[in-house]
């Protein structure tokens, strides 16, 4: 009898802590973190729900392409008919450094260029304001902010503000950042992204194949961590066993239909 009471108290305490730590967002259908309904493994780059603040770190400006590719890949899964637009924000002075999002490139990456709105802001203050406004908008699927250097305005308080806003609106915010040192932030998931050598293209050994990303989940609100080697195809991310084989992991579930599932579910 006493054990039953004790376990009940413990459970409610745990629930309370989870609430404080934002974890309920990762719970679906009563399943604990790490599990999906039907016993499928919870994979953060595939199953992360909307309404989280992500940070995507690339080591240098050279890796800007990989960082953006990964963020767009995450954001694409959040697009639905009710939320058709992804907003990409950049400081206007930053274009010369890391390049401007290129519409034709979005199309060849497998996204609809019409669905990506490009925002170029004069200052970091404007950018954060715009991001916050966009998070409150009913038509936005995700906001991607591309932020070079370490602006003072983007401190812990600012990121906490964005995280709360994202959570209350149910819209994900992805911040792409560059640099070796990582300041404290309120991001729910922090990804370290680097490009990985691609496999060969069929019929052409010398050409590079589909883009690959070496992804590390460095920190997450759910306490989840991990490394993955991902390959992007027009259907979404797929996990690769080893750089040499190039074969997709069978164990990670049916990954090609994942995106199709989501779109059809929301349609």
């Amino acid at each position: 009898m006493r054990d039953v009471v004790r376990s009940g108290v413990l459970a409610s305490l745990r629930e309370h802590i989870e609430k404080v730590e934002n974890r309920p967002l990762l719970l679906r259908g009563g399943e604990r973190l790490g599990m999906r309904p039907g016993g499928r493994e919870f994979v953060p780059w595939r199953d992360a729900p909307a309404g989280l603040l992500h940070e995507v770190w690339a080591a240098t400006g050279c890796d800007a392409g990989a960082g953006l590719g990964f963020a767009l890949g995450l954001a694409r899964g959040l697009i639905s008919p009710g939320r058709p637009v992804v907003l990409w924000l950049q400081g206007s002075h930053q274009g010369a450094e890391t390049g401007i999002l290129y519409g034709a490139g979005i199309a060849s990456f497998g996204l609809d260029a019409d669905r990506v709105v490009i925002g170029r802001m004069k200052s970091i203050g404007d950018l954060l304001w715009c991001a916050e406004e966009a998070l409150g908008c009913t038509g936005v699927a995700a906001v991607i902010a591309d932020i070079a250097a370490y602006p003072k305005a983007l401190d812990f308080t600012a990121s906490r503000r964005l995280a709360l806003r994202a959570k209350s609106a149910g819209v994900s915010m992805l911040i792409i950042r560059y640099g070796p040192s990582i300041p404290a932030s309120a991001a729910f998931m922090r990804w370290l992204v680097a490009p990985a050598p691609s496999g060969a293209r069929v019929f052409d050994d010398k050409a590079s194949g589909a883009p690959r990303f070496a992804v590390t989940l460095d920190r997450s609100g759910g306490g989840l961590k991990g490394n993955w080697l991902l390959e992007w195809t027009n259907d979404g991310f797929g996990e690769i066993d080893s750089p040499e084989s190039g074969a997709r992991k069978a164990a990670s579930g049916a990954l090609v239909p994942v995106l199709g599932d989501r779109l059809s579910r929301t349609a």
Partner: protein, 518 residues
Amino acid sequence: MVLYEMEKSAMRLMALNRAALSAGLGEGQTLADARALCPPLLARPMDRARLMAAFEELADWLSWASPLVAVHRAMTPMSDIVFDVTGVAHLWGGEQALLDALTTRLAGLGLEARGSIAPTIGAAWALSHYGEDGIITSPRKGEVDSPVSGRILAGRVGVDTQTTPTPTLPLTRGGGVAEALACLPVMALRLDEATGDGLDRMGLKRIGQLYGRDRRALQARFGEGLLLRLDQALGTRNERIVPRLPEPERMAERRFGEPIALLDDVMATVADLSIRLTAGLEAGREGAQTFHLFLYRVDHKVMHLAVNAASATRDGKHVTRLFANRLERFEGEFDTGFGIDMVRLGATSVSRLEAAQLGVFEGANARLGLDRLYDRVTSRLGAEALTRSKFADTHIPERAVMLEPVVASTDAVPGAAPDPALPRPLRLLPVPEEIAVIAEVPEGPPARMEWRRVSHRFRRASGPERIGVEWWRPGEGSLTRDYYIAEDEEGRRFWLFREGLYGEAPAKPRWFLHGLFA
């Protein structure tokens, strides 16, 4: 006081105030003569551009009386202001009251003003310049007075009544326009000196003497100008006013007994006015896309702000928010002078907007939500802040995609979407950066490059994709580009091109980096 200007190496008087006129000076006199005639003369060089700007500002400010105001430049560059007061007079309690309000207000500024109201611009001009009625001379105020005397010409011009001259009587006289003008001198028809002299020599001194004359003879003698002016004055030929400020189709305004100066007060007024304005739009089942805010300052200046909505709207709160965003940006330079005594909110681009049924899930309308977002952001950060890609029919990468503001309502046919089979980078550098490249074979893909002082050795490369020059464009370089996708040992992928071919004009082709792939 006089203003003088250099004319044919002599300084001549160009503008005089009443005191100078009564001292016996006249326009066109040389400054030296004038000084001799009147030693205590105060003379200043004339700064036409500045005077013109000031006069236009005054004209803008006068739009508190009627929103359609124009500077009339047919005769003098700056002394005539035309109003379209159709349907305005009753707000002032009659035309005489409107005229009085205008002239007394101007008199308060120390400006001499006369005006008259007539069905046509020509007639009103004639009456205000040559008529005896409605002359208002203002007593001088203080020492300082302006040599630019304002002549108010209030033309009651029916812009849409082109064919039939309005049969209403001009205010100042009984009878029709023709009768009112009949005994005025011919110069009242806005004629040039030569024509006036010619008519004078023919004994045609009054406008009335021109009625019923053989038009062909008049045209043969004096050209088209005379008949044009006569017809315009009588209203058989249409003359239009081109208003200086945007002409609001719907508007709401508020006047203050005591001028306001605080930004918060202005915002509160805007909130109130936008509710009134949008209520009016709703009653007419209309929506508007552009909203104009006019702040009339006590020191006769107008501040004009406009915000655009992505789609027609009549949501008062939304409009208020757009103006709040816009006004916030002003904060430092928000200069109300001595205060604002009138605020007017106008709407243009009014179109029909049927009531939409809002369901329980009001937030579910993605399109509306996005439009609101675009409006809010662009009203604060400018139209260029949010853009979307628009494809153009060209192969040159930097020109193939244009960034079009999301709020732009261009109906231009978009170019075809690019071929997804052609690989294009996710990020494009606005200006291709020159790199040092080592290629194994002259025409082959690069083996190594140095970009931003970092060396990259390439593992894989594919290409070339040759993009030719658009030779039909002027100022275009003449070198074709060969694009390669090169992947370095870490897996970064770059979009490089070689400008020119080996064996062409530059001995060694240059290489550039143009984009980054995922």
